[in-house]
Symmetry: C2
Subunit: 343 residues, 2 copies
DNA sequence: CTGAAAGCGCTTACAG
DNA sequence: CTGAAAGCGCTTACAG
């Protein structure tokens, strides 16, 4: 059911200005090509007619005729606007909104695909994906097949976070967790820690693997030795068994869980054991101390993703190969107060 | 620059199934009207062809042909996804997302209009408004002309919050602040308060007026007498001058400012003076006490707004008059601990 | 029961 | 310099 009230079209403008509809289109799109040279006088006449009307180009028609729309799709594998997801998505969405305002585009959130098993499907029978010029993909985990299909169809898109779920070359903007993790491990070594736990969520996302990679490197190269632990359930025993003086947690929330579990068993952070998150820690405290970990530029990641998407859209797909489509932004260590010298 | 890779169209499906493109369209849209009766066999053949392809209807073409799209616009007069605005917009956006998932529609955020003087403009030269089937309007203050124009153009839309900026009948879903304020005043009277301050933000929104109306009613009808104060700057003197035993603040944040200002002058809430917000107070505390005020169903407001919009879209505009398009949802008092018996 | 045709509003070669 | 025409992918009367 489209709105009934007839909207003013180029044809009407043409009638008013006494020119053809083609000319109106030309003026609107500033087409001053080889064969076309519209005299200033005509141009002015058309422009005035437009000014005085409420004319707005019909985006659907533009799109159908093959032009871009300045509409960027936003797809999230989970609900993005729920209070629980705000911690992760909040800064990203904020970055997107600001970048969108900058480049003058609208954001189409694909909220229609129902969340099943906690995850949405990108391609479904009624997807409005193609209404957008391109799409930003958000989520901790993504579907490799979705990514591959987007690449194959040459649909412009950019994933947020490093992606390696498929062999296809996926455009992404992420955070360099490898370097950050390496830095933090070096720091821990300096502080005298030799034995540590790495508490993770057993998730198999690229960023999880990035961290894990450096953990393994440390183990293999004589750095602090990490014992891997999935979740906090056995943390107290693991700590006692290994004699670890330090716990790395995959993210700040997990770190808080660790501190809680240890606290219940009478082990106090950081006096008796150091604790560090391998993720954003701003705003997180443990026993009154600012948590040690990273500071990651999430807003900037989102903004860069939108810029990259914009680039892809304005570049013919056969020239994409020349573009730098995989960006990792640097974060920085946030020393905090919970990573201290070996007890 | 539309994606280059040709997408599969109805024509191709038609070729595969050995029918006309018209028939494909009929099957897809389940058109089984008076003159059309497609035999199950043909129907199946077409359906199978579609299943086996990656066919997805082009939303732009559908739209241009006059059908709906299941795309709801979302317009906010300020940036909606910034950390500062999350307190107000967060629950609304969350409600929208969940409702959208329910009804199976996508959400188009009009982020393209740059914020000027802190407010965006709905109608601009390149607005993609008409791409959406309808639009949800969010914001503390709205432009009366915008509202009027939407009504005049019979574009389906719903405002969140009661609206009275224009004489046109604006569809809205809001919260009944009038009743809530009246209840709270009655409660204050019961507790023995006779002299009070009403600290407001000098804003001229409908919800601000709703509260003010009851404040005036109280003054006129022999209830507690309120002195109006714009902002917290002179709060200490005002309190001394009037001998008020109670302060109403327009919202929870303002209430916190009040408590702070009073605290600096040595006046402690609630021991020496009661304090109450005429707005959502969940999560707000003053001097360790849960703030007294309201509990308002913001998520539900957003969800109801989307449902109403859906109704408008599916109802021919000449039948809109028969619809109940102005809804006020009831909130409830949150007694808290900062409104106590007269000191 | 099914298909050829017109139309939605726009853009872009292509003729004048 | 400007306009008539074709086409984007779909829907919907309208003829067969």
């Amino acid at each position: 059911m489209a709105p009934k009230a007839r909207n003013v079209t180029q044809r009407e403008i043409a009638r008013i200005a006494g020119v053809s509809q083609t000319t109106v289109s030309m003026v609107l799109n500033d087409r001053d090509g080889s064969n076309v040279r519209i005299p200033e006088a005509t141009r002015e006449r058309v422009k005035r007619a437009i000014e005085q009307s409420t004319y707005v180009a019909d985006p659907a028609a533009r799109r159908l005729a093959g032009l871009d729309n300045q509409i960027m799709g936003v797809f999230t594998y989970e609900a993005a606007l729920s209070p629980e997801s705000m911690d992760f998505y909040g800064p990203l969405l904020n970055g997107l909104e600001r970048a969108a305002e900058q480049v003058g585009c609208d954001l189409l959130f694909f909220t229609s695909s129902p969340v099943e098993d906690g995850t949405r499907s990108l391609f479904h029978r009624k997807t409005r994906l193609r209404l957008a010029d391109g799409c930003i993909l958000l989520g901790q985990q993504m579907d490799g097949d979705d990514l591959k299909r987007l690449v194959d169809e040459e649909f412009p898109f950019v994933a947020v976070g490093r992606r390696d779920e498929t062999t296809a070359k996926v455009p992404y903007v992420g955070i360099d967790y490898v370097s950050l993790t390496a830095e933090l491990i070096a720091r821990a070594a300096e502080l005298g820690h030799r034995e540590a736990l790495y508490v993770h969520r057993g998730r198999n996302s690229p960023t999880a693997r990035d961290r894990l990679q450096e953990i393994h490197t440390s183990n293999a190269s004589g750095g602090p030795r990490f014992t891997l632990v999935d979740g906090v359930d056995t943390i107290v025993e693991d700590l006692a068994r290994t004699g670890a003086t330090l716990v790395f947690a995959e993210d700040a929330f997990l770190a808080e869980d660790v501190a809680l579990a240890l606290g219940k068993a009478g082990t106090v952070v950081p006096e008796q054991v150091s604790l560090t998150a391998l993720g954003e820690v701003r705003g997180h405290r443990v026993n009154g101390h600012p948590l040690s970990g990273f500071q990651v530029p999430r807003q900037q990641v989102a903004a860069e993703a939108l810029n990259l998407l914009q680039q892809l859209i304005t570049t013919p797909s056969d020239e994409w190969a020349g573009l730098d489509t995989q960006l990792l932004l640097a974060g920085q260590l946030e020393l905090g107060e919970t990573l201290v010298g070996r007890a």
